[in-house]
Symmetry: C2
Subunit: 415 residues, 2 copies
Amino acid sequence: MAINMVANHAIRAREDDIIFGLSARANEAIAKYGKENVINSTIGTLLDDDGKLVAFESVYSELQNMNPADIAAYAGLAGIPAFLDAVVKACFMDHRPEGFIRAVATPGGTGAIKNAVVNYTNPGDTFFTASSYWPAYTTIAAENGRNFDTFNLFNEKGTFDFESYKEKFVYYLEKQKRVLAVINTPAHNPTGYTVSDEEWDMIIDLAKEYAAKDPDYRISILVDMAYIDFAGEGDTRTFMEKFGNLPENIMGLFAYSASKGYTMYGLRNGALICVTSNEDLATEFYYSCAHSNRGNWSNGTKGAMQVIANIFADEEKYAKCEEERTKYRKLLATRGAAFMQGVKEVDLPITNYCGGFFVSVLANDPTALCEKLIEKNVFTVPLAEGIRVAICAMKESDCRRLPAIIKEAMNELGM
Amino acid sequence: MAINMVANHAIRAREDDIIFGLSARANEAIAKYGKENVINSTIGTLLDDDGKLVAFESVYSELQNMNPADIAAYAGLAGIPAFLDAVVKACFMDHRPEGFIRAVATPGGTGAIKNAVVNYTNPGDTFFTASSYWPAYTTIAAENGRNFDTFNLFNEKGTFDFESYKEKFVYYLEKQKRVLAVINTPAHNPTGYTVSDEEWDMIIDLAKEYAAKDPDYRISILVDMAYIDFAGEGDTRTFMEKFGNLPENIMGLFAYSASKGYTMYGLRNGALICVTSNEDLATEFYYSCAHSNRGNWSNGTKGAMQVIANIFADEEKYAKCEEERTKYRKLLATRGAAFMQGVKEVDLPITNYCGGFFVSVLANDPTALCEKLIEKNVFTVPLAEGIRVAICAMKESDCRRLPAIIKEAMNELGM
């Protein structure tokens, strides 16, 4: 007789991460057919052209030359002060919004999103994001007793479907008296879409309109900016200034992750940062998030925080890190351009790619397409409405030839 | 007009960690009066006789010589397999219980306790531990919508108050149909008490008695073993074997922390480990905890996991680490003996200290005693029923003279 020991809410599907499984199959294929004959486009980290994970020398020389006691010590619940200063700079750069800004360290972007969800919604509330989304959002909702919903990401022009966003925003705000909208931009995972400054104006104007309707409304907008430092060559932070001088019942929240921008995935380093026009609400944010830290994971990775602090405290170190990041951002852009060239040639149906690690290819039977591609030794990740291609993990020549391979697979499937 | 932006449940006291504040005051005193004239007994990490944090060379040479890409990569949701194997060895050593054992990596012991609480109790349930306790348990309860209660730790003989434990155990099991008892041993924080093997027999027998009464009862015993590797010279793991071959509705859970035993406080490395006689329940444990990881902090610190894996994979590295730990365990024992010598001389009222980082001194006005000690440039931490002295942070000569200073302060206060 099967019994359970965990509480009913904690009985979970017994399945391993789908990406992990696909990646393992890709590695088997590489062992069998050779590296040159397999495309592993499942991995969500930046790899160099030899398929090796990129780890910035400017980051790891700092960590590996640090006094061990500085790595071994506790960071304090909210994070070390020098990191908290540095991460606000790393977040906003030249586009710091006007207002009161506080940061609390978290284990990566995930911890930041968790802290936003548990503190800025009530148990049983629904938070929402775009229809094409990072699946961990649903896990965060399930683990923390929240519900999850989506608005339609793209309108018929392939840009931000503001009408759909507005519908969900108004629905949940009126129902819950508070709302948490999660916007993953720039270089959205999994489409690579970047919300434009004009679209941000609409999002902010809507928040202001409703903030004025009822002073008891509580509006929180969480920007999941995990991919910002690889979002293309343009200035992708201008929108941040729009969070300045807003009504006090609008809270701007930024989930900052050092995973991508500082190649610190496995060091679990990030922060949740607030922007508010009311100093008291910034203080409230700080103590709520510090409490969440202590009641879940205690504190963050001290050595990783110290590295970021050291880089921002030294012009030469900062310049070196910036140089490395620019080099790899350009590499990624080259891969993206090569992929888009291939897309154009075979007229592959993709969503609006602006930059970043991933591109979404539209397909009505994603699983069938993935399996057909595996027959061709190409490994991608199935989504609800297509497949995810990881530009970040493929060399330029593979990016260039992949669209034709996908198109061929679609043709074979009669898609 | 003051408003709140966080949800009502998330409004928290605006106070910083009391230990942090006391430690800051101690550092001010050191700057003013000199290191030799101040005793800072607030710190919960192992310091050497010069007041420097101990960071094992065997641990940090491994981390700092590692290929950066091995630190930068994600660890996978449950942790890297080599770590999960190693941490089970690190947990049980020569006393592995018979049964099905699985481990899931967590950020330190806190993450392990959090995962046990959220998966093995229902929202609104009460979990309980001893009356003298690490305050973060209440934070974990508050953050995760659980209630918290305590049994009386010491009976009149100064040993484990089993009757009080039994009362809470039976009360919550009958009320909730499931119970989670948290036992912080060996070398309990803040008293240094170690539950004896005979006391463990009573705890386990009680669980078995009730497990047989109703097959629908769900009994989970969580051992918070944060201080096990500094719990004295005897074999402190023999009790672990008692978790073997238990009825399937008793789950043994071990919150393993690498913070103290491997001087990895700031690296946030630990695991929750289960022991069950039913393989299916070990699998259930694994997927529930992996889900909790993904929905809260995603995954753990890869480099720290790799260090533990490497140490356990290499006899020479293991021996070197063991040698360092033994050296410092002996140092700690010397300090403990010096403190106890002083206690004996002045007949200071303390609770039953068996080993570890802390000793509790009984006092009916802890705050007054702490403040009186601060006048004497001695900094300790107030508890509900006394003050906590940190043997781990004081050199032997300070340990030797501290009891007389405390006694003097008590006399001055008429205690």
